[in-house]
């Protein structure tokens, strides 16, 4: 992210850095710029809240256990084919 100094962030810049902001990948100064913009922007504040909610929902999904027989099934099927040494 480019440091903008004291220049206020616009909506396009806010949008471009929203994923990084929610993923905690911005510096404190960059994050402060995001928060400042959101606090005064009627479009970006709800956009941030919505993206944050979507992120939480996705990350709340558990990792699933594959069927117990799957590994054996794969090994059986793959034993019937030969690995190739080169493939594009």
């Amino acid at each position: 992210m480019t440091e903008t100094g004291h220049k206020p962030m616009n909506c396009a810049e806010f949008d471009a850095h929203l994923a990084e902001a929610l993923d905690g990948l911005l510096s404190p100064a960059e994050m402060a710029g995001m928060v400042t913009h959101a606090s005064g922007c009627p479009l970006c504040a709800p956009a941030m809240a919505l993206a944050q909610e979507g992120r939480s929902l996705l990350r709340g999904l558990p990792e699933l256990e594959p069927p117990a027989y799957l590994v054996q099934k794969i090994l059986t099927v793959s034993s019937e084919v030969a690995p190739q040494t080169v493939e594009d």
């Binding site: 919505l50 993206a51 979507g54 709340g60």
Partner: protein, 199 residues
């Protein structure tokens, strides 16, 4: 994080016909591939078939994996993603899109989907509700476009970084971030709409 050299060694042994090395690779990656396929398709049966297909394809092309060009996990994920895209294209015409309207009902005091998934002190009833929420999230995931779906799955469920995702999807990092944003937003919007409908 995978040990790049150790995995490269396993791959070399598997290519040379070492069954134990191949089994180790299958055991090491089947869970990740199954989850990627399940979250993309929303179907345990399709996920199982596709996981199997990925491994057959992987076995046949193991010799083309080049450790210098990136981590094995990225190579495997690219292979899986390409197969999922092919599968999506083939099946798009007869895909059945389940309606979120048919989602389980919730009572008026029900917390929002996000609150349900986030609650660490959930009791038995909450857990049932949480399972329903997970189903709703999965259904919503199936409703967003495949481009957005794959981006959020790779980022939020497979925990890959933007650079890795950009390499897998063959798009610039800026596009990856934009798709992740839009995917998260569309998913939340769909779930909010569902929540309002059942109130």
């Amino acid at each position: 994080l995978e040990d790049v050299q150790a995995v490269a060694g396993l791959v070399r042994r598997a290519v040379a016909g070492d069954a134990a090395a191949w089994e180790e690779l299958v055991r090491g990656y089947n869970r990740r591939i199954y989850n990627l396929c399940y979250r993309f398709t929303g179907s345990p049966d399709e996920a199982e078939d596709l996981t199997q297909e990925v491994f057959i394809k992987m076995y046949r092309s193991l010799g083309s994996y080049d450790v210098e060009r990136g981590a094995f996990v990225s190579w495997v994920t690219t292979l899986t993603r390409n197969l999922l895209v092919d599968h999506f294209r083939k099946s798009r015409q007869d895909r059945i899109t389940d309606s979120l309207d048919a989602a389980p009902t919730q009572d008026e005091d029900a917390p929002t989907p996000a609150e349900q998934l986030a609650d660490p002190k959930a009791g038995p009833e909450d857990r049932v509700r949480s399972q329903q929420t997970q189903q709703l999230v999965q259904q919503a995931l199936g409703k967003i476009s495949p481009e957005l779906r794959e981006a959020v799955i790779l980022r939020d469920l497979q925990d890959m970084d933007y650079r890795e995702i950009a390499a897998i999807l063959k798009v610039p990092e800026g596009t990856v971030k934009s798709r992740i944003n839009r995917g998260r937003t569309e998913l939340a919007r769909l779930l909010q709409r569902t929540h309002r409908q059942v109130m």
